[in-house]
């Protein structure tokens, strides 16, 4: 569920430029790969459904850990794959920022964080399935690892950037951010288990959607070389 909950102007200009450039670069690379590789229409549609679910859940504050929201980015990565997954996170972040949930200036940083969650979850899930793991433990473990990776990246981005208006020395800021990363790890447990159940259900009724069924030469991401 990692998400940098700061307003516009919280990061210094150099950091804003850096994270926006990196986020934009990631999107450009994904778009380039999508142009050079064929993607099944079915997976594009599935990515659309995943975006709807992720956006809807993104805006709901749950009464656990003091009040948190989920992202479902692990599930997005597993379902949409390594190319469409990051694009879904862009869409969700743009719409969220438009409604005031998240700063417009932090779109690049938040896209990097959420795309990392989707990418790590996807590759972890594929690795675990190839190691003959069952759907639930593979889905739950992959999603939790993906979310953990995103949480650490979020912490790294905030500490590296510094926060405008914060008088905290860098060491104190790092300690505070460590606490925020840890909270995100706790939330990842909830989201990971939820993702595991959804993946388990899909593997039962539509194994082709989560890549637990043979899909000829096309891999689970819907991308054919």
């Amino acid at each position: 569920m990692a998400h940098i909950h700061l307003g516009d102007g919280s990061f210094p200009l150099w950091a804003l430029v850096l994270w926006t450039t990196l986020g934009g670069g990631l999107v450009a690379y994904v778009l380039y790969r999508l142009r050079t590789h064929s993607v099944e229409t079915r997976h594009v549609a599935l990515a659309g459904v995943a975006a709807a679910a992720s956006f809807a859940v993104f805006q709901l504050n749950l009464p656990v850990w003091g009040g948190v929201h989920l992202n479902l980015t692990g599930l997005v990565g597993i379902l949409a794959g390594p190319l469409l997954g990051p694009l879904v996170t862009v869409v969700v972040n743009v719409f969220s920022a438009t409604l005031g949930h998240g700063a417009v200036g932090l779109l690049g940083a938040n896209t990097l964080v959420n795309a990392t969650e989707a990418l790590v979850a996807f590759y972890a899930f594929r690795t675990l399935v190839r190691a003959n793991w069952s759907a639930f433990p593979a889905g739950a473990t992959a999603a939790t690892l993906g979310l953990a990776a995103g949480a650490f990246l979020m912490g790294g981005i905030v500490v590296a950037s510094g926060v405008n208006g914060s008088a905290l020395p860098r060491a104190d800021l790092a300690l505070a951010v460590s606490g925020m990363v840890a909270v995100n790890l706790g939330v990842a447990v909830l989201e990971g288990v939820l993702t595991g159940f959804v993946v388990q259900f899909l593997a039962t009724v539509r194994p082709d959607l989560v890549g637990t069924a043979d899909t000829d030469s096309t891999d689970a991401s819907g991308v054919a070389a």
């Binding site: 229409t41 549609a45 504050n61 409604l99 433990p137 593979a138």
Partner: protein, 103 residues
């Protein structure tokens, strides 16, 4: 891999994350909404706090920025549009895939 090993690894990952979460929860102010926790921790530093991990009485609410600006309708509309486009495209793609190829 044997099931007990799979679930053992999963349990270890979840236990480590839960332990970290509990530490972070108390270190960053206890029972606070995420946005408030984030802002306070980064402006004022880590501060011990406590409170219930689950507040069932509060229920599930829409995120503060949307609720307070009266954008709940827009939120619902965006969800509906994304869902409609996704489901319609999915139904179309599935139907097209099941059609016999043109000769």
């Amino acid at each position: 891999m044997e099931a007990w090993r799979q679930y053992g690894v999963l349990a270890a990952v979840l236990a480590a994350c839960t332990a970290a979460g509990l530490w972070g929860f108390t270190t960053t102010g206890g029972s606070l909404p995420y946005a408030k926790r984030f802002a306070r921790a980064l402006q004022e530093g880590a501060r011990e706090g406590s409170g219930a991990l689950v507040d069932a009485g509060r229920g599930v609410v829409i995120a503060g920025p949307i609720r307070k600006q009266g954008l709940v309708g827009e939120y619902a509309a965006v969800v509906a549009v994304l869902l409609a486009v996704g489901v319609t495209t999915y139904a179309y793609a599935t139907r097209r895939a099941s059609d016999p190829p043109d000769r």
